[in-house]
């Protein structure tokens, strides 16, 4: 049994929120560098160059990479042998977010009620996904999720007999319809299977895989690769101005599902694919 203090979780969450908003992850930066080389449209190339320069300025000046500092999404994986002392885990995470968004001069975009729409003024609550795992550690993954890309995401319940081509079309169409709105080059998270909410969660989780990593199952790794090629053939391009670099990566996460169904969720993330993680 290991004890983790409430205040340590607050401080770590705060650190992660600041880190994520100011420093673009290295794998994303490198993928953008590569996309700049590969981009065939001159305008597309200069857009990616601007995006890369923006990331450098944000890091140097400790400014938000994007002004949409998002709803904070947190994946909290709690080892079964962990005991949290001094308060609730969710409260600690929200306190860390609150402090980061205040002290980091980050935008507060969260409203208290989807109908009444009153700003909570501190960017809480975060959307937290808890899961219990083996061991005595607390693993936090934090992602400020912008809504330009979130709004373009989709979920559809396919029939078990639907051809895989239909599913591919649905995924590619999502990108074409989104156009420049999600700030391409994007990262795609695709959730296959489970139930409705499980598919959404898988898609979100998929967004934070390391760029360059492949799905461990061969047929899904091949599907990821094929989808990336199809998406980059659409011509949407950086910012939707046309070009060959529409997506940096496609990641699939899957889960067993019911004989009668095939849920498919497509979650988009923009080039400002901000996330940070830590283990306590």
């Amino acid at each position: 049994m290991k004890t983790i203090k409430y205040t340590d979780i607050v401080n770590k969450t705060k650190e992660l929120a600041l880190e994520a908003n100011f420093n673009l992850p290295k794998d994303v930066y490198n993928a953008l560098l590569e996309a700049k080389e590969k981009e065939t449209s001159p305008l597309g190339k200069s857009v990616i160059e601007i995006v890369l320069k923006n990331a450098r300025v944000a890091k140097e000046e400790q400014l938000a990479i994007c002004q949409d500092t998002g709803v904070v999404v947190v994946f909290a994986e709690i080892g079964q042998d962990v005991r949290i002392e001094g308060g609730l885990l969710a409260d600690a995470i929200n306190e860390g977010v609150r402090q980061a968004y205040e002290e980091g001069y980050l935008r507060k975009s969260v409203i208290s009620d989807p109908v009444e729409r009153i700003n909570t003024a501190d960017n809480t609550p975060a959307v937290i996904h808890f899961s219990l795992v083996e061991g005595d550690q607390l693993h936090l993954t934090l992602a400020p999720k912008g809504f330009g890309s979130e709004n373009m995401s989709r979920l559809k319940m396919f029939k078990p007999t639907d051809d895989i081509e239909l599913i591919k079309n649905f995924i590619v169409d999502t990108v074409v319809e989104a156009g420049g709105n999600p700030c391409p080059p994007i990262i795609m998270g695709i959730g296959l299977g489970g139930t409705m909410e499980k598919a959404g969660l898988l898609a979100k989780k998929a967004l934070f895989r390391k760029i360059g990593s492949k799905h461990p199952k061969k047929h899904l790794a091949e599907l990821e690769e094929e989808l990336l090629i199809l998406i980059n053939k659409t011509g949407v391009g950086p910012q939707g101005f046309g070009g060959s670099q529409t997506a940096l990566a496609v990641f699939i996460e899957e889960f067993p599902t019911h004989i009668a169904g095939l849920p498919v969720a497509v979650n988009l993330n923009c080039h400002a694919a901000r996330h940070a993680e830590a283990i306590l």
Binding site: V51, T69, C183, F241
Partner: protein
């Protein structure tokens, strides 16, 4: 690179795909501020700024760090303002800055009024903020980031996305 100064007069020479740098004054407004402006127009009440030749920037900036006029300030998705745009163009609005495509209705109104829609690079808010030299809230401070701000900008970088002829960068790529 074309250089433009505000307020805008004739913008019919601009073509989709042109790189433009803007200096002068631009105003920020997004969802709720648009609703309120339309409400004022419908009631024949005065607006918080003169729309004639004006540019509206769809942005909800981050708070300013001490010693800076503004925080990160890149464009938001323009299509959310589509149904609230034509009445402003009718009142003399000449330019809009945002990201992503616009509706057929907006494109028709842009053509009719000889206006222009610019795209700024979405997700480049830190870099863009360096071209904003001053910022002042002129209406609806209670809306926080969504308040209407008067920004003084210098060489603010944008791309012509829809020109006064209706050429559309998102549909057809650059004209030049």
């Amino acid at each position: 690179m074309q250089k433009l100064a505000t307020p805008l007069s004739d913008v019919t020479f601009l073509r989709a795909g042109d790189l433009v740098s803007i200096s002068g004054i631009i105003y920020t407004a997004r969802d709720v501020a648009h609703k309120r402006l339309i409400h004022l127009i419908n009631n024949g009440e005065p607006l918080p700024f003169d729309l004639d030749g004006a540019i509206i920037y769809y942005v909800g900036p981050c708070p300013a760090k001490p010693g800076r006029p503004i925080g990160s300030a890149g464009p938001t998705t323009s299509s959310r303002m589509d149904v609230l745009t034509a009445p402003l163009l009718k009142q003399g609005l000449k330019g809009m800055i945002g990201k992503g495509g616009r509706s057929a209705e907006v494109i028709t109104a842009i053509k009719k009024h000889g206006a222009v829609y610019f795209a700024a690079v979405g997700g480049a808010g830190a870099l863009i903020s360096q071209h904003i030299k001053d910022s002042e809230i002129i209406a609806y401070p209670e809306l926080g980031t969504e308040a209407i701000r008067r920004l003084v900008v210098e060489d603010f970088p944008v791309i012509v996305a829809i020109d006064s002829m209706g050429n559309n960068l998102y549909e057809h790529g650059p004209m030049t």
